[in-house]
Symmetry: C2
Subunit: 356 residues, 2 copies
């Protein structure tokens, strides 16, 4: 069972999930598990219609006309991850136990607990496409609708504190299935990076009575230097301290702390703008590997004044090396100003999908 | 010129170094800079003897008999990085300016400063070998001697606060040259991960009057469960909260906070033990990509009671994906207990080097 461990020196959490070593391509070069040649193709893809029985049963689906969520007539399908990094105790651990390891002390330097939570896969579309730019606006809106529905459902589980939603596109971004999909991990902890954002934003708000994200969006829209694209309700920009070359964030222009509260109109607007902005990256960089992450508020503080949900997109063009992993400081060879400048001109991706 | 930028929301630093995009293979898939087929081979390797003029002039060398540090008669050679992520202001920026950007405020959300410092390459050996296991014990000791000498020299520059030393072995670990080398980056900031270790260790010391690393080493040696190898003065172990599969730390058993203070006897012992322990990883995982990092104290607090220098080795068998980069929490598919168990049995690598 996956285990959550706390480092005895720094306040760092690690999930030890030995079950995930069994994933296709999970370990590169390891003699006990050689890397698979590539991700699965059309014939054997368990995310394609007709192969529903190869995934765990669906927990949610947007359907056409059929009533069975495991039938092939679906537009988006959400299933439990077959190799979860988090496990729901009710499924595999009847006793509740202690969720959060204690702080280290001389009697207990090594603190661990079951890695409790929910790990789901959102199959964005029945079509075997591999990038966000290949989705139609309607398909991306369906996928985001499923994300919103799952956040709304999971927040009522009082054992869960937070959910993070992400997408791995391409092998170099950690994808082990090429059929486009998102993942959702909900747990009883707020992830360290989200917790750091919450702390930083609260500190700024306490001093200036202003959401630091709202302020940043105002400044960025006023200067335009790092803005890639925008709609009436959303803006896509390369953040000032981008860790990755061509990193891009997509944020609602109006204050909104919880993604799950987005209305249908804004969701459709977001799908259009985000798809178009990501397609710019795909066109410019010729289908690079990338990750997409949604950062939103914890379930016990959904509507707050100081935090602002957003989407982060990281192209994976460089390899984090010894300096980055050893220091915790990123080195980015492309300035966000240069990145935004060239991405603004690359609107081939905004043409209608399917033309690629 | 490389620039240090502070994120307006979290306390995160990024080095924007556009000059590094020119490195061979710096960007994968980017249309403006396609990845080179592979790292350079023997014929054109600028780190091999006879090609000294292809690197910047040496700042340090351990030599055989010749007096010229740029002649080919050397055992270890230290040269400035041709594509530095940090720049010495005296070389390229005559005015001192402000080193550290201010905290964000409503008038200055975006804080930046020149990325000041020294970025050097330590060419471990004149032989064109590609892994630590291929070094002789004497060669690895020479390389560590050069590191010690550079730390001793750089700590006298009052503008520098800290140096991190690391090694990238293999493309998947970020190496762009295959000829084995280390790098040293010294700057006016303590890197975030080292700062976090210092804070955590100080907190533990303040409460328990004990170095948390010393305590961890005692506990680990007593149980032996995660110990891979040891000598009289050093231990190699898989840390309890390993972020990477087969992650291994090498630590002095006696309390020692600053790597630069190591004596010749311990340095030779370290070279033997570390080379043998790393060779176990290379044998078991069939020459995986990996990083090696040395964490040591800042220059203004060399000998302290609460911190303990150490070497961290990270095999790069998995790819950090959207969850890891989006959450700040690692997922490791191999428990450190299982890793140590199999590495203990894999002592083929301890045979004499050159046999590989």
């Amino acid at each position: 069972m996956p285990e959550l461990r706390r480092d005895p020196i720094v306040d760092r959490w690690v999930i030890i999930a030995e079950n995930r070593a069994a994933r296709p391509g999970a370990l590169v070069n390891a003699s006990d598990s050689p890397r698979e040649p590539t991700t699965a193709g059309l014939e054997t893809c368990p995310f394609c219609p007709g192969y529903e029985s190869e995934t765990p049963p669906a927990v949610f689906a947007l359907r056409g006309h059929a009533n069975d969520p495991n039938a092939s007539d679906w537009r988006v399908r959400v299933v439990p991850n077959k190799y979860p990094a988090l496990v729901s105790e009710t499924a595999s651990q009847p006793d509740r136990g202690t969720y959060v390891p204690r702080s280290p002390g001389p009697e207990s330097l090594f603190a661990a607990a079951p890695a409790f939570g929910v790990h789901e896969v959102i199959i964005d579309t029945p079509r075997h496409v591999t990038t966000v730019g290949q989705l139609t606006n309607e398909e991306f809106a369906d996928s985001l609708t499923a994300v919103r529905a799952r956040l709304e459902a999971l927040r009522h589980d009082l054992r869960l504190k937070h959910a993070i939603v992400f997408k791995n596109v391409g092998c170099a971004a950690g994808a082990t299935r090429e059929h486009l999909h998102s993942q959702l991990m909900a747990s009883n902890l707020v992830p360290p990076l989200v917790a750091a954002e919450l702390r930083g934003a609260e500190r700024f708000y306490d001093t200036y009575r202003q959401c630091v994200f709202c302020r940043m969006i105002d400044d960025e829209c006023a200067s335009g230097e790092r803005v890639v694209d925008q709609s009436s309700a959303f803006v896509a920009l390369c953040p000032f301290a981008s860790r990755f070359a061509y990193e891009m964030w997509i944020l609602p222009k109006g204050h909104a702390s919880h993604f799950g509260s987005i209305n249908d109109g804004d969701l459709a607007d977001l799908a259009n703008l985000a798809r178009r902005a990501i397609a710019r990256i795909e066109s410019l960089l010729r289908s690079p590997a990338y990750n997409l992450v949604i950062h939103t508020t914890p379930f016990d503080s959904l509507a707050i004044e100081h935090y602002h949900w957003h989407m982060e997109v990281f192209p994976r063009l460089t390899i984090a090396a010894g300096f980055e992993w050893g220091s915790g400081c990123a080195v980015n060879p492309v300035s966000p100003e240069a990145a935004a400048r060239v991405l603004r001109t690359f609107d081939k991706g905004s043409a209608s999908p399917g033309s690629r």
